[in-house]
Symmetry: C2
Subunit: 341 residues, 2 copies
């Protein structure tokens, strides 16, 4: 790259000090500065296509106006959508976003945090990986502002924005019960992540309140690494039981997409043979022959709130915010009342 023009260049050409140039270009001390000189400086800056060097500014101010965004995997549509919202919102506030994928791996997450820290990000927005509690505590100890999204750890008293996963799952399953389904299965990831556990809790509680079997006979877990194969196995299991399931609740959009692709290939009739409720949105759902009922998370709110809370936290690190939003059950044909069939 060519050498960029600096304030010094402008100052020298005009025979003034860089201080003056700085004041003028930053619209400071406007009342004390000669209008003509100010005009000249602005004009020359324009002419030379001067662009302030943020890096130098940052070194002085100790602020980069940059947010570090750590997601599990930006190519997951849920994360991508959130990333998009966060970037938009950050830009409105004159912040940029550097991002990285932690891949559900605490080691990668720690490396990313270190990397972004050395790049002096002003704070983080993190969808934390399983097992990353310690590094978050460390961040907190170092007074680095951050906010967790989507997931959080009930033991950690840090900023977080998430939905009420318990309630969302409870509502989804209660809806199925209300519509007359008797054997409601659930497929979830095998995990200790709180937000996913909450979904299971909601599922169980709804079953209990509906006076249904709470033995867990209709509940199955899937290892995230072998999602495609295991989802198939679990569905086979649930359908092969002596009392086969007549409804299925997926704990996440990945699971739902894998599961629905399989159900599709099995030529199972939804909802006649099997009712379906998914977690999270996906435009993929529209390609399935039967419009799917799903839990919609308020992504826009989550993203915007995350930026808002982070920026507040950068300014005033004291206050912590725990924001719990409500998800919405979008009811479609895949879960219509059993009797109506």
């Amino acid at each position: 790259m060519k050498k960029k023009v600096s304030m010094k260049d402008i100052a020298q050409q005009l025979g003034v000090s860089t201080a003056l140039v700085s004041y003028v270009l930053n619209d400071q001390l406007t009342d004390r500065i000669n209008k003509d000189t100010a005009e000249k400086i602005k004009q020359l800056a324009e002419e030379l296509n001067y662009r302030p060097n943020h890096i130098a500014k940052s070194l002085k101010s100790n602020r980069t106006n940059t947010i570090g965004l750590i997601l599990a995997d930006i190519s997951n549509p849920f994360s991508a959508h959130l990333a998009r919202i966060i970037e938009d919102e950050a830009k409105k506030n004159k912040y940029s976003v550097i991002f990285g994928s932690a891949d559900e791996n605490p080691k990668k997450s720690q490396d990313l945090i270190n990397l972004l820290l050395s790049r002096q990000v002003d704070g983080f927005i993190i969808a934390p990986a399983e097992g990353s509690e310690k590094q978050l505590l460390l961040l907190q100890k170092q007074d680095v502002p951050f906010v967790l999204i989507d997931r959080y750890f009930p033991g950690l008293n840090v900023n977080h924005i998430a939905i009420d996963n318990y309630k969302a799952a409870y509502d989804a399953v209660a809806h199925l019960i209300r519509n007359g389904y008797q054997e409601i299965g659930m497929i979830n990831f095998k995990t200790t992540l709180f937000h996913l556990e909450e979904r299971v809790r909601g599922y169980n509680e709804a079953l209990k309140d509906g006076n249904m079997d709470v033995s867990g006979a209709n509940f199955r877990e899937v290892n995230e690494k072998y999602i495609t194969e295991e989802v198939k196995q679990r569905i086979d299991e649930l359908l092969g039981k002596t009392t086969a399931i007549d409804a299925l609740f997926f704990g996440s959009n990945n699971l739902a997409i894998e599961g629905m692709a399989y159900i599709q290939s099995l030529k199972i009739k939804v909802p006649e043979e099997l009712a379906i409720v998914c977690f999270d949105e996906a435009n993929a759902y529209n390609l399935f022959y039967c419009p799917l009922t799903y839990v919609r998370q308020p992504l826009l709110q989550i993203g915007q709130k995350a930026v808002e809370v982070l920026l507040a936290s950068i300014k005033a690190p004291e206050a912590l915010e725990h924001v719990i939003l409500n998800a919405e059950l979008v009811v479609n044909e895949s879960s219509i009342p059993r009797k109506q069939r």
Copy 2:
């Protein structure tokens, strides 16, 4: 945030100069430096949890090891996947990625470029919006390294990585012709973007080589802003003709997903009543009852090559690379031979 520890802190505590600290922590001049002092410095750095300030380094070196990534929309799965690959690849090379969405809007694109430029990114990877030629020329004039992906402008002699869209479309349509389809429709965006025009050219050329009607009677365009409504209209038109289409080729994954959702809702039998070929991959395709034939772009190669070419270009700005990769037609049931039906 708490004050971070700097080299100065380490130097003072040890009674040495910051120069020494710098040399040691950067493993320079190792043969000339006293092993004991070196050891002490390293230990104290560790103890104090010292993290180099990239910002300061950048100010000196005029390098930020940061790539600016400008995409149309990161929440589009195609872009998101690419973003993921680029970030991975960048990280391997010790680069970070700052991203932004231009939303097919040249004004936004220009703003993003300015913003990232003031943040001193070392170069750009850009999926350029329609009408952004001028700003790219300006970048080039300023000797800012960049590489275009996915799209490019044939008149601009700049780095770009893309697939042979003409060939990909030609192959797709030739495949349909070979399989006995007579009235092959295509739905594309209304655009002057070269890569999309190339797809139309491939479509037309394949029709011509197959001695089929080249009047454009089976070709339709869609305004990106009203994609959902217009895709429906265009499909209605193509199916409502006196000689209705018996096959349909979608020019992009967005169009395909919208289109397939509609075709799904119309209860049209694929491929019996209508054969389908889509452009680009989408896991959504798996939810459709009939496995879809599609053109697969080598995203991994595109992303990796983009980073490679950009980094080369940062080091040696002279050489320009125009990389054209081949797409692959993934054949599935949605386009099986007509006779076999």
